[in-house]
C-alpha cells in the first residue's frame, strides 16, 4: 500500500487556486520529486500533507488511513524557511523536538550525536543556532527533521544553500534513509538532483499538474533532439543535412540539434565518410530541458 496518497487535492486561498486537483502516490522506500516553478504550489501541497492546512477538496491518505495524531510521531519535516530557535542550543532544541515526536530523551540524545558525527560537526552540540552559518543551520534543520527516524519525510528544498560537498553528503543520507524504508516527498529546483534520486516525479505549473510519472517514461515521451559527435578530424557539411537545425562546435567535436530522429543517421554517415568517429551519442532530453519546455514555454508569473 502507498505510504502516501493524494487524490484530487485542491487548495484555494481566497480567489486564488494554489493547488488544483493534484494526485500522486509515494511508495514505501521511495523518493518522490515534486517540481515546479516558483509559486507553483509545491510548498502548499506539502503543508497539506503535513496537516498544517486543510485541503478544500480531495483526499490525503497515509498508508491507507486519514490524517491522525499518530502521524506526529512518524513524520519529519524540513520547512523551506528553516525553522529553529536562534537563541537556543542545538542539543536543547533538537532533543526537545524529538521528544515532542515521542522519543525518549536518551534516545534523542544518542540519535542527535549520531547525526552530528555523521555530518562531521560534533562540536555543534553545544552551540546556539544563531552562531552557525546559514548552510550549517540548514544541516541542523535537516537533523531536526530526521532525528526521530520518521517513516514519512517531507523535504522542502533541502539542498538549497549547501556547498557541493554537503549536497553530496545529504544526498547519500537521503538515499540511505530511502533504503531503510523511509518514504520521502522531496521538492527542489535542481533537476540533476531529481534525476539522481527520484524515480517518480510530478511537475507542477501554476497550481496544475503538467507532467507526472516515471522519469524514464517521461523522457521517452519527449523527442531526442541532441546528438553528440566526436571525431578525430573536422567534418564539413553537417549543417546542410536535412533535419539538422543547429551545429555547435565544441572543444573536441560537435553538439547538433535535430528536428527528427532520422537526421541522426545522416550525421553519423556524414561523419564516417570524412573522419574517424570516436564518440557518437543521441542524447536523452534532460529533465532540465523538459522542465523548461513545459513550464518555461508559456510566460510565467
Amino acid at each position: 500500500m502507498e505510504a502516501l496518497k493524494l487524490d484530487g487535492v485542491v487548495k484555494q486561498f481566497g480567489e486564488k487556486t494554489a493547488v488544483n486537483r493534484i494526485s500522486l502516490s509515494v511508495e514505501p522506500g521511495e523518493i518522490y520529486g515534486l517540481l515546479g516553478a516558483n509559486g507553483a504550489g509545491k510548498t502548499t501541497t506539502m503543508r497539506m500533507v503535513l496537516g498544517l492546512i486543510y485541503p478544500d477538496d480531495g483526499k490525503i491518505l497515509y498508508s491507507g488511513k486519514a490524517f491522525n495524531s499518530e502521524l506526529q510521531q512518524i513524520m519529519g519535516y524540513l520547512p523551506e524557511e528553516r525553522g529553529l530557535y536562534p537563541k537556543v542550543k542545538v542539543s536543547d532544541q533538537i532533543i526537545y523536538l524529538a521528544r515532542l515526536r515521542g522519543m525518549s530523551s536518551s534516545d534523542a540524545d544518542k540519535s542527535l550525536r549520531y547525526w552530528l558525527d555523521r555530518f562531521d560537526v560534533p562540536d555543534y552540540y553545544n552551540k546556539k543556532v544563531e552562531e552557525l552559518s546559514k548552510g550549517n543551520q540548514q544541516k541542523m534543520g535537516f537533523i531536526a527533521a530526521v532525528v526521530h527516524k520518521p517513516r514519512l519525510l517531507i523535504l522542502d528544498e533541502a539542498f538549497s544553500g549547501l556547498d557541493p560537498v554537503n549536497v553530496e553528503l545529504l544526498k547519500d543520507t537521503v538515499r540511505e534513509l530511502r533504503d531503510q524504508g523511509t518514504s520521502i516527498l522531496f521538492s527542489t529546483h535542481r533537476m540533476e538532483h531529481v534525476e539522481e534520486l527520484c524515480r517518480h516525479i510530478t511537475i507542477m505549473d501554476r497550481s496544475n499538474t503538467v507532467v507526472q510519472g516515471d522519469i524514464r517514461e517521461i523522457k521517452k515521451g519527449y523527442p531526442r533532439e541532441e546528438v553528440l559527435l566526436r571525431t578525430s578530424s573536422e567534418v564539413s557539411g553537417l549543417e546542410t543535412l536535412p533535419g539538422v537545425t543547429g551545429v555547435q562546435r565544441q572543444e573536441r567535436g560537435y553538439l547538433l540539434t535535430i528536428s527528427e530522429i532520422a537526421a541522426a543517421q545522416r550525421i553519423l554517415q556524414q561523419a564516417v565518410g570524412q573522419s574517424e568517429v570516436e564518440h557518437f551519442e543521441i542524447k536523452e532530453p534532460t529533465l532540465n530541458q523538459i522542465f523548461i519546455k513545459v513550464v518555461g514555454g508559456e510566460s510565467n508569473e
Partner: protein, 429 residues
C-alpha cells in the same frame, strides 16, 4: 499529556536562563531591599547623636523653683527614644551651661521667671541656632502646660488627674443606618492596617507579574512564528498542548519570581534593625490574615491564566516581533484599568465601581482582592466572582486556542477579524 510536560519544561528552562528574567528579578529585589531599608539608612546618615540622644534642655530658674521641679518630673516620664533630660541652672551665665551649649550636647535652655497663683509667666527658649526642633517643642509645650496646671491647681489635684485633664477627648463618628438605629460595631469593623499594606503590595506585585509574563508569552509565540519553527511544532504537538504548555511554563516563571521577591521581603523584615519598622508603623505580623494571602494566590492564578491566554492568542496573530507592541496595546490598557480601579479605591473599597469590577472577568481578580482585604464582602460574593472568572477562563481558553491554531499559520500583514473568523471555522482545535 506527556508532550505538555515536555513543552512546560522547555519553556521554563529557556526563560529562566534569559538575561531579561534575571535582570528584572534582580532589580526588583534590589529596589525592594533599598526601599525597606530607607528608614534605617536615613537614621544612619543623620548621625546617631541627634537621633538617639533624645531631648536635653536646661532650665534657668531660681533655686527650688517649683515649675522646674514639675518639668523634671514630666521629663522622667517621657518614653520616646533617648528620653528627655532637664538640667537646672540658677544663671544663664553658668559656665557648665555654656560649655554644654558649645559642645552641642544641649538643645537649648528656657528662662523661668517668678511663679504665681495665676500660673507661669511667658517662657522663652534660647538655643545656639535660634530654632526649636519639633521634638523639643512638643516636649516643652506639654511639660510646661502640665506644670502650669499643677501650679494653678496646687494640691487640689493629683498629677494623674492633671494628666487626665490634658488628654485629648476621644471623638468618634458613627453612621446612622436607614432604619434610624446606629450601625452595629462589627459591620463597621475597620480592617487592620496590615491588610492595607498587604493588599497594596499584592496589587503591585500581581499587576507587574501578570503584565510581564503576559508579554513574555506573546513575544515567545511571535518569535516562534517568525522563526518558522512553528511549522515544525504544529506538526509535532497539538496547538492546544503547545499553548497551554507555554502558558503553564511561564506561569512557573511568574511564581518563581514572586517567590524570590517574597523571600527578599521576608529576609529584609528579619534584619534586626528593621524589626522596629513594623512596630513603628503599628503593623503586627500576628494580625496577618492568612485567608487574604490564600485568596490572593487563587485570584492571582486565575487572573494570570485569563490574561496569559489572551496574550498567547495575540502573539499568534502577529508575524513580526516589531508589530507586537502595537497588537498588545488593548490588553495592556485593560490591565492598567484592572490595576488602577482598586489602587485608587484603596481607602474606600466599598464603592460601586469596585463592586462592579469585582465581578467582571479581567478586572475581577484585583478588585476582588481589594474587597477581601480591606472592604466589606460576603463569602457568596467571592464565590460568584471566582466562578465567573473560572468560566471565562474556559471560554477564553477555547477561543484563544482557536485563534492560536489559526493565527500561527497566517503570515504577512496582520489579519483582520473577519479573516480570522473565517479561517477559525476551518480548524478543529
Amino acid at each position: 499529556m506527556n508532550k505538555m510536560g515536555t513543552i512546560i519544561g522547555f519553556t521554563f528552562k529557556n526563560k529562566v536562563k534569559t538575561k531579561s528574567f534575571m535582570i528584572t528579578t534582580l532589580v526588583l529585589v534590589l529596589l525592594l531591599s533599598i526601599g525597606m531599608n530607607i528608614p534605617y539608612l536615613i537614621k544612619v546618615f543623620q548621625g546617631d547623636d541627634e537621633a538617639s540622644a533624645g531631648i536635653h534642655v536646661a532650665v534657668v530658674a531660681a533655686e527650688g523653683s517649683r515649675a522646674s521641679e514639675l518639668l523634671k518630673n514630666y521629663a522622667s516620664g517621657v518614653t520616646t527614644e533617648g528620653g528627655a533630660t532637664v538640667d537646672q541652672y540658677t544663671s544663664a551665665e553658668d559656665s557648665a551651661l555654656k560649655t554644654s551649649l558649645d559642645e552641642g550636647t544641649l538643645d537649648g535652655y528656657i528662662q523661668l521667671g517668678a511663679e504665681s497663683e495665676t500660673g507661669l509667666p511667658p517662657v522663652t527658649f534660647y538655643s545656639p541656632d535660634g530654632d526649636m526642633d519639633a521634638e523639643v517643642q512638643t516636649f516643652l509645650q506639654l511639660g510646661l502646660q502640665q506644670a502650669n496646671a499643677q501650679l494653678i491647681a496646687g494640691d487640689k489635684l493629683t498629677p494623674e488627674q492633671i494628666g487626665a485633664m490634658n488628654a485629648p477627648v476621644q471623638l468618634d463618628t458613627k453612621q446612622i443606618s436607614t432604619d434610624g438605629t446606629a450601625v452595629t460595631d462589627e459591620e463597621k469593623d475597620e480592617a487592620p492596617i496590615i491588610n492595607y499594606v498587604i493588599v497594596y503590595a499584592l496589587l503591585m506585585m500581581f499587576f507587574m507579574s501578570i503584565m510581564m509574563t503576559g508579554n513574555m508569552i506573546a513575544a515567545e509565540v511571535t518569535s516562534e512564528k517568525s522563526s518558522r519553527i512553528m511549522e515544525i511544532l504544529i506538526t509535532s504537538a497539538s496547538p492546544l498542548a503547545q499553548m497551554f504548555g507555554k502558558v503553564i511554563g511561564i506561569f512557573l516563571i511568574g511564581m518563581l519570581q514572586i517567590a524570590i521577591i517574597a523571600a527578599a521581603v521576608a529576609a529584609n523584615l528579619m534584619l534586626p534593625h528593621n524589626a522596629s519598622i513594623l512596630t513603628d508603623f503599628d503593623l503586627d505580623l500576628g494580625q496577618l490574615n492568612v485567608n487574604l494571602l490564600i485568596y490572593g494566590l487563587v485570584l492571582y492564578v486565575l487572573g494570570y491564566f485569563l490574561y496569559a491566554l489572551i496574550y498567547a492568542a495575540i502573539g499568534s496573530i502577529v508575524s513580526r516581533t516589531e508589530d507586537l507592541g502595537q497588537a498588545v496595546m488593548p490588553i495592556t490598557m485593560l490591565g492598567l484599568v484592572t490595576f488602577y480601579i482598586p489602587l485608587f479605591s484603596i481607602s474606600n473599597a466599598d464603592t460601586l465601581v469596585v463592586k462592579v469590577a469585582s465581578y467582571i472577568p479581567f478586572t475581577s481578580p484585583l478588585s476582588m482582592l481589594l474587597r477581601i482585604g480591606v472592604g466589606d464582602v460576603a463569602f457568596w460574593e467571592i464565590l460568584v466572582s471566582l466562578l465567573i472568572l473560572l468560566v471565562s477562563i474556559f471560554v477564553f481558553g477555547w477561543l484563544a486556542a482557536k485563534i492560536y491554531r489559526t493565527g500561527v499559520l497566517m503570515y504577512g500583514k496582520r489579519p483582520t477579524i473577519k479573516e480570522i473568523r473565517k479561517a477559525m471555522k476551518a480548524y478543529k482545535i
